[in-house]
């Protein structure tokens, strides 16, 4: 299992250069799936039409300024238009109104067509994931007809390339909104309601998602990465994620597990295969396999993990995880144990 997972990690590592541009940044102008593609096409059309209208309006204004009749202060005011009809003016204003209506109709039509296209993503054989927004992290539960195959993870989704994904969106506290600019449009997560978001990634890569509805102090540090990988690799990852955490193998990690269970950690976090079953905070069964900690706040390195455990409020003020003043030896053992949770 471990070797298989390491292979999967290496494969993701090999993807990294290709995804390097996308890794830290999200980019709505480089769609990697059909949903984002539709939105991108609509955006291009809107940009084109608006640019055309802008050029026409500014052009008409400049022509009007250039061709306006000139007079000096002694010349009487030109009130000729009060007495006589101006058919040419009427024609051009009429034409401008007609063009405006036509262009608005085009935009409206394109919006409707895009909306329908977004709703028509074929969902045969879709992967079902329940995504719950919390202050300030994401909980993902991978659904499966076999109840024993359901597993939870946090702040990082893995999805197979080319297979549709149906996200069921819920919120536990306040309104959040999920947005993967490279993959799909935004969708709100509203407490007490259930929404869905369908997407598909056609190119493998690492895509950044972000909460897009202000949800409190750490709204900005509420990041959800999506790793799109070939189906075989995804299946390996899913099989690995279903497994319980390995028992600690040496004295230090055993001590680390003891620290985890006997201090504040086990009050909120879960590690499957142990007595820790808190449901309030990210599931840590495979925490070491994730790219970041604190929902994209810090890179997942031993030193960052130690700093995070000692005082999460330094990196993410207001987060619900309290500072933990562990003695250095306990902290080291705890970090060593958490690093084994691949």
């Amino acid at each position: 299992m471990n070797r298989a997972h390491r292979a999967a990690c290496c494969a993701v590592g090999a993807l990294a250069p290709a995804a390097a541009a996308a890794a830290g940044m999200h980019d709505a102008l480089q769609p990697a799936g059909p949903q984002a593609g539709h939105v991108h096409a609509l955006w291009l059309l809107l940009l084109g039409v608006c640019t055309l209208v802008y050029i026409l309006v500014v052009g008409a204004l400049l022509i009007g300024v250039a061709r306006a009749r000139r007079g000096d202060e002694r010349a009487p005011a030109d009130v000729a238009s009060l007495a006589q009809d101006e058919p040419r003016l009427r024609q051009s204003v009429g034409a401008a109104i007609g063009i405006s209506i036509a262009l608005l109709a085009v935009l409206f039509g394109a919006t409707v067509v895009t909306d329908r296209a977004l709703a028509r993503l074929p969902l045969d054989g879709a992967l079902h994931i329940k995504l719950t927004g919390h202050q300030w992290w994401w909980e993902a539960s991978y659904d499966d007809p076999m109840v024993s195959n359901i597993f939870s993870t946090a702040n990082e989704l893995h999805i197979p390339v080319g297979r549709p994904v149906l996200l069921t969106l819920e919120a536990s506290d306040v309104i959040h909104s999920v947005w993967f600019p490279d993959l799909a449009g935004k969708k709100d997560l509203i407490p007490g309601r259930t929404a869905t978001l369908a997407l598909r990634a056609d190119q493998p890569g690492l895509y950044r998602g972000q909460c897009a509805e202000f949800c409190g102090y750490q709204h900005a540090k509420m990041v959800l990465y999506v790793v799109a990988e070939p189906a075989a690799q995804y299946e390996q990852w899913a099989a690995h994620s279903r497994a319980s955490a390995p028992p600690p193998a040496n004295d230090e990690t055993r001590r680390g597990q003891q620290v985890f269970m006997q201090s504040t950690c086990a009050m909120c976090h879960a590690i499957s295969g142990t007595i820790a079953n808190g449901q309030q905070a990210p599931d840590l069964t495979h925490v070491a396999s994730r790219q970041t900690i604190g929902a994209g706040t810090l890179p997942n390195t031993p030193s960052a993990l130690a700093a995070w455990i000692i005082d999460p409020q330094l990196a993410k003020p207001g987060a619900n995880m309290p500072p933990n003043g562990l003695p250095p030896a306990d902290l080291q053992a705890l970090v060593a144990y958490l690093r084994t949770l691949q």
Binding site: T264, A266, C268, Q280, Q313, P323
Partner: protein, 204 residues
């Protein structure tokens, strides 16, 4: 109910009596107290005010101390006038599954917390000790599992359920299902017969 009002009245009178002298001075002091209370109400401390480690302070059952007053046991009042601390306490009350036995304060397997009956005392230090040390017949001891500042937030929230903290700071709205009145509208009520174990079954 009326005895409660009477109690509150004497409490406020006692506060007023702390400023002897002309009525004007009393008004000035009251205004200053109000202004300070208002500041305290909104302050959000992400850093715990005393230490970062779990360092259980000595539980004092008497307010009298020799020499200087040790502040570690007088921090409860700071939490009780702070709306953020109280709402955090309310969140933690369900996070740490206090609801599992005390059911939103109404009592279930554990005794009710919204009445005016306290088996082990209603002072912040009493409640702190109850949470940290546990009590016979089922109350777990949470010492070492909950950081100090969260303990004091829980203590403040538990007291808010029976109207023992200022109304201005107590949580004023439940975020989800309205299981009971919000804490700033709750007054300590005499215990109801249903759900509370008879005195003989209660450990003293």
């Amino acid at each position: 109910m009326s005895s409660t009002r009477h109690l509150r009245g004497t409490h406020e009178a006692a506060r007023g009596a702390a400023a002897p002298g002309a009525p004007l001075r009393i008004v000035a002091v009251l205004l200053a107290v109000l202004a300070l209370a208002a500041c305290e109400r909104e302050a959000r401390r992400f850093e715990p005010p005393v230490g970062k480690a779990i360092t259980p302070p000595p539980i004092r059952m008497s307010a009298i101390q020799p020499a200087a007053i040790d502040t570690t046991t007088t921090i409860a009042p700071h939490y009780e006038v702070n709306a953020y601390a109280l709402s955090e306490g309310k969140r933690l009350f369900s996070w740490y599954n206090c609801n599992g036995c005390h059911a939103n304060g109404g009592g279930d397997k554990g005794p009710a917390l919204m009445d005016d009956t306290w088996i082990y005392g209603s002072e912040p230090s009493n409640i702190y000790a109850t949470i940290v040390e546990g009590r016979p017949n089922g109350m777990p001891s949470f010492g070492g599992h909950i950081p100090d500042n969260e303990l004091w937030e829980l203590v403040a929230y538990v007291r808010s359920m029976s109207g023992l903290v200022p109304k201005s700071a107590a949580p004023s709205r439940n975020d989800d299902i309205q299981a009971k009145k919000s804490e700033n509208r709750l007054l300590p009520e005499p215990p109801q017969s249903s759900g509370v174990p008879p005195a003989s079954e209660r450990s003293q």
